[in-house]
Structure formats: structure tokens, C-alpha cells
Amino acid sequence: MHELGICRSLIDVALGALAERETTQRATSLQVEIGRFTAVVPDSLRFYFEVLSRGTLLEGAELNIESVPLRTRCRSCALEAEPELPSLLCPQCEGVVEIVTGRELRLVSVDVPEEAA
């Protein structure tokens, strides 16, 4: 249920991005990346987004969530892999891995309609 806090942050960051662009138009959609190796449930984030965006420029905007796969690189044999959770060991040599992707919690873009010329 910490999606509530993450969603507050998402809304703050998105409204900040709109304010920077000095737009008063409502956003049409948001692109968000959520890594597979995070503790965030996309449906829960969507639910909070719908509630918390009410009355803001984000109300009614579509929340597009892209799930980023867990990708690791082995410190021993350098193999890049997408290991099957829960194991985080290198599938080739069982070595210790570094996480390359899968920990993302990012707002990629906020879209507003084209400004009328």
C-alpha cells in the first residue's frame, strides 16, 4: 500500500513538469516505467492515481505503465541475463550479479495536447 506515497510523488513530479512548461492544459497521458524488481503493484498505482489526480491538470489523463524487465550482469562471467525471480544468481555460473534494469520507478513523460497556433 506504499503505492499511495509513490503516487503522491508521481503527481508532484508530473504537476511540476507541467508547471515548468507553463501550461494550463490538462494532460492527456503519462508514461511511467516500473521495474519488475520493485515493490510496486501497477493496478494499485492506477487506483491511487485516479483518486489523487482529481481536481488537478492530471485528472482524466491516461496512466501508461511500462513494466521494465529485471536484467542482471554477472560480476564473475559478465553474462547479462533476465533471471527468473526469486533467484538473483547468475544462471550460468551462479555468481553474484549487478542489477542493470528492473529497479525503475520513473515518470518518462507527461503529454498535453498540441498548443493551438
Binding site: H2, V13, R21, A39, P86, L88, V96, L107, V108, V112
Partner: protein, 220 residues
């Protein structure tokens, strides 16, 4: 179309965590973020740890709970040390974890220069606290043998972000049919670098190893 902008959703938290870290460094404190499922024994471990190290080091504790000050009262009964209670129910919508702003709010005007060791006892939960940096030096988790040996596989994020695991209640491992070897294998598969210290906070078994580990960190 607005120009593309990449922003980390935890950046607001991480900025406050960095500020907390500065505050703790100014105090001179080594900070442990202590996490576990409810009932694993965090508070009992803290009671025994405070009992053992109080007097030798200056200790302080930040207690995170959804509600109540039971843990603060328990620690105050052990020793006269500063204990700050944060209730997430009051200002934070009953959040299931501590984040950096909550810790910043909790310490508020409290100034504890000269603190050697600060424990932040997180809300009992194996999911959410794993995601939030609160400004700690290290993350330590407690697992108890009653939880079963499969938990590293069910909560891999928590097991993977911690430096130390205290395996608690080993005095009753046999009675609950705990498969120690399988548990250690499961831990290794999600975090091969995890330091595992087997203890019983109740009988005191293994506690010396944990206390030694802490004292090495304080001295470092």
C-alpha cells in the same frame, strides 16, 4: 507533446534521505534501518542490544509503528535513552513503512550530537520498507524461524537490499520444523553477500556475534 522528461519517483524521498544522512553524520551516529515482518522480534532484539551496549555507547532509537507507543515504552523500560516514536497513522495515512520525510519529521528538533548508534525500527512489513532509503548506513533485517524457510523466495527484494540478516528464535527451530539448510540456500539465491547471524534474543544465543558486528561498525 511535452518534451520528454525522465524523473525518478523516489527522488523527493532520496533528497530528504540525503539530508537525514547529513544530520546523522553530524551527530556522529552509525545508523541501522531495522526491518522485518511483524512479530519477528525486532523490539526484543533492540531491548537486548540496548541492555548490552548502553553505557558503553550513546544509543538512540526511532520507532516506526502504524499506531501506539508500546515499543518506545518497552525500550524506555530498559534504559534511559532517547526514543522517538513515529506513528504513521497520525500524519501519514497509516503508511506501512517509514520513508525519509517521516524520519525527518520524527527527529524534527531533536538534536543528538555524540550519538554513536541510532536504530530506526521500521514498521513490521517485508514489502514496502525495502523500497525507501531513510538515510541509514545499513539495512538489517530480522527473520524468525517461525516464518518458514521459503520467505527469502517470497520477499526477494527485502532479502536482496539488506547487508545483515538476524535469524531469530533459533531456540525453537526444532519445535517448528525449521529447515535451516534450505533457508540458507534460499537466502543465498537472492543475496549471496548477505551476512547471516543466527540468534535467540530470548536465550541470548548468538547475540555476542551481533554485538561484535555492531561495535566493529561503530569503530569504523
Amino acid at each position: 507533446m511535452i518534451e520528454e522528461d525522465v524523473r525518478n519517483l523516489l527522488s523527493a524521498n532520496d533528497r530528504v534521505a540525503a539530508a537525514n544522512r547529513k544530520t546523522f553524520a553530524r551527530w556522529g551516529a552509525y545508523v541501522v534501518n531495522l526491518m522485518s515482518a511483524p512479530g519477528a522480534g525486532k523490539t526484543t532484539i533492540l531491548e537486548r542490544t540496548v541492555e548490552a551496549l548502553h553505557g558503553k555507547y550513546r544509543l538512540a532509537v526511532i520507532e516506526g509503528d502504524v499506531r501506539g507507543s508500546y515499543d518506545r515504552d518497552r525500550l524506555r523500560a530498559v534504559a534511559e535513552i532517547p526514543v522517538v516514536q513515529i506513528n504513521t497513522e497520525i500524519a501519514y495515512g497509516g503508511e506501512c513503512h517509514l520513508d525519509a520525510p517521516m524520519v525527518a519529521g520524527g527527529i524534527g528538533d531533536v538534536d543528538l550530537p555524540g550519538t554513536d548508534l541510532l536504530f530506526i525500527e521500521n514498521v513490521g512489513n517485508l514489502v514496502c520498507p525495502a523500497e525507501f532509503d531513510v538515510g541509514e548506513d545499513t539495512k538489517v533485517m530480522v527473520a524468525s524461524v517461525t516464518e518458514g524457510e521459503d520467505k527469502p523466495l517470497k520477499y526477494p527484494l527485502m532479502y536482496s537490499v539488506c547487508e545483515v540478516l538476524l535469524l531469530n528464535k533459533i531456540d525453537i527451530a526444532a519445535a517448528v520444523g525449521f529447515d535451516r539448510d534450505q533457508f540458507l540456500r534460499n537466502c543465498r539465491s537472492v543475496n549471496p553477500r548477505l551476512t547471516i547471524i543466527e540468534i535467540s534474543a530470548r536465550t541470548g544465543e548468538g547475540m555476542a556475534t551481533w554485538l561484535d558486528w555492531l561495535q566493529l561498525k561503530i569503530a569504523a
